[in-house]
Symmetry: C2
Subunit: 230 residues, 2 copies
Amino acid sequence: MSKEVKVLGAWPSPFVMRPRIALHLKSVDHEFVEETMHPKSELLLKSNPVHKKIPVLLHNDKPVCESLIIVEYIDEAFPSGPSILPSDAYDRAVHRFWAAYIDDKWFPSLQGTAKAQTEEAKAAALEETSQGLSLIEDAFVKCSQGKAFFGGDSIGYLDIAFGSYLGWLRVTEKTNNIELLSKEKTPNLLAWADKFCAHDSVKDYMPETAKLAEFAKMIFARFKAAAAST
Amino acid sequence: MSKEVKVLGAWPSPFVMRPRIALHLKSVDHEFVEETMHPKSELLLKSNPVHKKIPVLLHNDKPVCESLIIVEYIDEAFPSGPSILPSDAYDRAVHRFWAAYIDDKWFPSLQGTAKAQTEEAKAAALEETSQGLSLIEDAFVKCSQGKAFFGGDSIGYLDIAFGSYLGWLRVTEKTNNIELLSKEKTPNLLAWADKFCAHDSVKDYMPETAKLAEFAKMIFARFKAAAAST
């Protein structure tokens, strides 16, 4: 018998980690359906015809797309587990604001470090990434109120939104031989990152940095080839 | 005495309409603080230091930024009024999906019609805009279930998300002397648009097409100048 909840995805994707962590937090078992992407599966094309992107959550065969929308859906569809969004309306707005900032502004700057065609462009992208981390550090201090996570005592929406990029952040640090999270500039995020990665709901889905770095070499080479052909 | 709820914005912005419509739906009175943008006000810089963009909602002086996040906040902070998001979790995910599609994919294609530097590029952007409208037409049929609005019998989240662009859509039609919403291709959206614009919670905030077209001439000229200088 097929499982009620499936996640269609691929292991290196930060976006695919998000629903998997959320489901684990809610103690909802799921089947992971590996999407190979080349070519895209019929299930993916049928489930997400608009974007044709992973992840897709299938809940009793009904598809939900876009990773942060899926996380909110999981929070609402399985209300018996711990809350993922904060309970206060203003706090929810603040978490949504920072999650959108991280996806729309910060992550493109991290990607920019790999897509840069010159040393100058790479240095600018690394600086932008670093400045973004300072903003996220400030957001952490305000949201966590001295507790372990953005969500307080337990992992919440913003932890998942930012934490899902930690693998790629570490690959960027390794590739460029620099510290982006540091004791000097982002002491709170540095401590948080270790707790997040070691968390029961996260550790099985967080890729090993060495394995991800190998995968990244292939992706970064593709970025370079694409840029060279334009 | 200052009002409990303020919206910092400017009349031509589709994003600024969103919180104003949502507040009207909730029967929450608000003070509109006109942001002139050149230079940006101290209130804007202080309230939205990350993006420095309108709209900002100030609820008892606490700022909420990003228009769709503000609409969700209004829905949650004033629960006594009619619901803006659908009550069912799956329907909420579907509305959020289409609202994100409209902001991230469809609106950039509409903007592309004004930013295009060649007739060929303009034709391509108009075609992309039109194809997007066909997808949104299909979404309307599924969401509305034969009723007047995306939200059913009353205006909801997706109505606000898409409807806020109607002024700019009409300006684009006028500027290019074409029909983007039509009886042949998007009969449901065409009927919906009239009902949306005439709605009590919308009509005071929807700019007149002629006035917006005048404003658009200035903005479009700025797009062209910016493109020419790159």
